[in-house]
Structure formats: C-alpha cells, structure tokens
C-alpha cells in the first residue's frame, strides 16, 4: 500500500491538478459563453433567438461524451485540429454554456421590471442598465445555481480522459490497468472529488453571504 502510494501518489496529484485546472477554465469559459448567450437572447431579434434556442437544445440534448468525440476526432475533418487539453477545455465550455445561459436567463427575468423601468425613466441607456442594474442583481440571484452547476461540472471532467487529457481519471485508469488495484484507485478518485466539491460549496456559500448582505429585507 505504501509502495503504491509512493509510486502513484505524484501521478494522482498531478492528475488532480489537471482536473482542477480543466474544471476551472472550462467553467469560466462556459459561464462567459452562457452569459453572452443570455444577453444576446434578451436583446436580439427573433431569428437570432431561434438559432440560440436550437444551440441550447442541441447541446443539452446530447451526451458530453459524444460531443467531445465529435469535437476531437471529428473536428479535423472540418479543419479544427486541437490538442487534447484545448479540445477538452473548449468541449467543457461548450457543453456547460447552455446550462449557464438558462441560469442567467431566468436570473435576469427575476430582476424586478420596476427597477429596470426606474433606470429607463431617468434616461439611462440600455448598455448602462445592463452593466449597472441587470448584471449586478442578476448575477447575485444566479449565484446559488451557478455554484451548483459548477459542482456538477467537476465530475464531468472525468470524461476528458477519453481524449487522453492527463487528468485524475486518466491517471486512475492507468494505475488500475497497471496494478489491478481498481478499488484503491477509484477510492482515491472519489476522495479527491469530494474534497474539491466541499471546497467549492464552502467558498460559494461564503461569497454568497457576503454579496447578498445588503439585498436582504430587514424584517
């Protein structure tokens, strides 16, 4: 057991580092794409909204595994030749974007229309309203759902192992294949993920309390 740890520990740790990195960048990418989609949906003409709707439904309706295969192995047919890590990051961003877009869409919808009308009534421009009213209020109310979906995404990163991104699952599979210690390897994987998820949810909660301090009605 000690030998096992000594030999594979560093690989697992490095794999975990890669997992965290992929998760972080993929989530940020997905949020950025999702935010752009939600804003465009809100302010654009109907045909553009339909196209985005189709994008959302197509991505949500298909497995991440299939999307990633198509991107990595099918991409070169369309001139999109990516290394495993960039492909994984792009894949994660695209895969998560419709979920984030829906989170933002409903959060923007929950910003009271009166607060937006108050801004219009004093002559504020729509870009100012988005920046000063819609985004701050919308993002705050979206935060719990954003944290929640980010947690779901941590576990989707294991799928990147199929395109040989050297993340935690990839290392665990290597260890299993070489030692037949499937249980230990997967137990390690489970513990790493649990720790990560716990950390994210704590940070999320702390952040939430801080930024909603002023928004809670005094009773």
């Amino acid at each position: 057991m000690n030998d096992l740890l000594a030999h594979y520990g560093p690989f697992l740790l490095r794999g975990f580092g890669m997992t965290v990195l992929c998760w972080l960048l993929g989530t940020v990418g997905g949020m950025a794409l999702g935010l752009a989609i939600a804003l465009i949906q809100r302010y654009s003409i109907a045909p553009v909204r339909w196209v985005l709707r189709i994008y959302i439904e197509a991505i949500r309706g298909t497995p991440f595994l299939a999307q990633l295969f198509l991107l990595y192995y099918g991409g070169p047919m369309f001139g999109l030749r990516l290394d495993p890590i960039p492909a994984g990051l792009l894949g994660l961003s695209v895969y998560s974007s419709p979920y984030f877009a829906e989170i933002f869409r409903s959060a923007f919808g929950a910003v009271p229309i009166g607060q937006i009308e108050a801004a219009r009534a004093i002559g504020m421009s729509e870009p100012s309203i988005v920046r000063r009213i819609l985004l701050p209020l919308g993002l705050v109310s979206a935060l719990p759902a954003m944290v929640n979906f980010s947690i779901v995404l941590t576990k989707e990163t294991v799928i990147l192992s199929i395109i040989t991104v050297p993340e935690l699952m990839y290392q665990v599979q290597r260890m299993s294949a070489e030692t037949f210690r499937y249980v230990e390897a997967n137990l390690a994987l489970a513990l790493f993920f649990w720790g990560l998820v716990e950390l994210i949810s704590r940070l999320g909660r702390r952040f939430e309390t801080r930024i909603t301090k002023h928004l809670i009605e005094r009773t």
Partner: protein, 258 residues
Amino acid sequence: MVRASSVEIRKVNKFYGPFHALKDIDMSIAPGKVTCLIGPSGSGKSTLLRCVNFLEEYNSGEVLIDGELIGYETAGGKKMSSRRLREMRRTIGMVFQQFNLWPHMTALQNVAEGLIRVRGMAKSEAEARAADALEKVGLGDRMSNHPSRLSGGQQQRVAIARAIAMEPRLMLFDEPTSALDPELVGEVLSVMKALAAEGMTMVVVTHEMGFAAHVADKVAFMEQGELVAMDEPANILHHPEDPRIQSFLRTYHERNSF
C-alpha cells in the same frame, strides 16, 4: 422656482391586444400645475401616466411635453430614436408605487447614479448633488443606508430625491403612497407638497383624496379607459355631476369610514 413643463395629451389610444385600455384621451396640463388622476382600479390611470414618459407605447394620438411629441418622430409616424427618447426622459421624473430603488446601492448611490450615467457628471459632483437632494427630502442622515435598511416612507423619499436630482421639469407619480403603512404616508405627501409649492408640474395617480382636494389644481376622473371629467378639485370631489364619479366616491367613503 423650477422651470416647469406643460403636458398636452391629444386623442391618445392604447390597446393591449384587443383590449382598449385608453380611449381618445385628451388632457391639457399647464406648466407648474398639479393634476391628480383618480378612478377605479383598472381604469387606465397608470397606463396613461406611463404614456407620458413613453414607458408605455400609445398606439395613436399625441403626447406633447412642452409642445414636443414624445415617443414618435411624427404623430402616427415611426418611433423616435432611443437617444432622443432618453434625452426627453431626462426632464421627466417618475416615482413608482413600489419605489423601485436599486437594492445593491446606498441611498446616495441610488440618487447619484443617474447624474453620473445620464448627466455625465463626475462622481464627486454627482454625490454632492445627490446629498443635496437627500437633504431636501429630509434624509441627510440616511445617505449611506441601503434600501433594505430604510422604512417604506424613507425609501419613497429616496426615490423622489433620485428623480428631483435630475432637475426634471415634470414629475409623474403612480400611487406613491399606496404601498406605505398609514403612519408613513404623511412624510411622503409633505415632500410632494413642497415640490408642488416650488412650481413643479406634477401628474399624480392617487387614492389620497385629501391630497387631491388640497394640493391639486385639477382632478381628472377615469373609468374604463375614458377620461370622464377633469375639473377643479371641488367640482369633482365635493359636488360631482357624473353618476360614475358619485358612485366611485361613495365606495371610497364607505371603505374609509368605520
């Protein structure tokens, strides 16, 4: 004294789908005058008020602020540019029933926001002006409070300060005291009275008949999308001729007596 606008409403119609919400409304408000809009729920008071700053798009007719058409380039023509609309809205303040303060900003920031974003003032100048406006509504000591830490009456006074800091020439009020506990109504009404005394043109949708009787120059009664009558307060509130007004006031008095 403020430089006050006139409002001229001519044959304004508004439809929500098939529903005819405003029917050929004509109304003329001279600069510096206070007009109260009263009438039963659903009669179109808010809709009419919101047509004046084009938060609600009217379908036909004209709304003129100081003789200038708002919302459309020409009567029945295409919509005016959003830039032009925003310029016109700068001179029209609006106060809502639900206050609609921005909850993530302090009272001072709520008032300064428009000065910074719309009037293009530097932050320090905007905040000095915002502080003046808050002093004026009696909230000099509450400037750094967020709305969640203010009473309803205080929130509504911040909302009024937010509007008057922009130096409007016309103020629109949509039931400004209806969401308030009875003991907080007075502080808001007295701020409004002071504004009226400065010569501001005001259009006020209200159920405060006392305010209408004592402060308004004209009272307009609406029912089912029609302007039934517009006259001196006494002629509407004390000896109305129209049976619809009589019945409305009877209900009002019954509800308010115990």
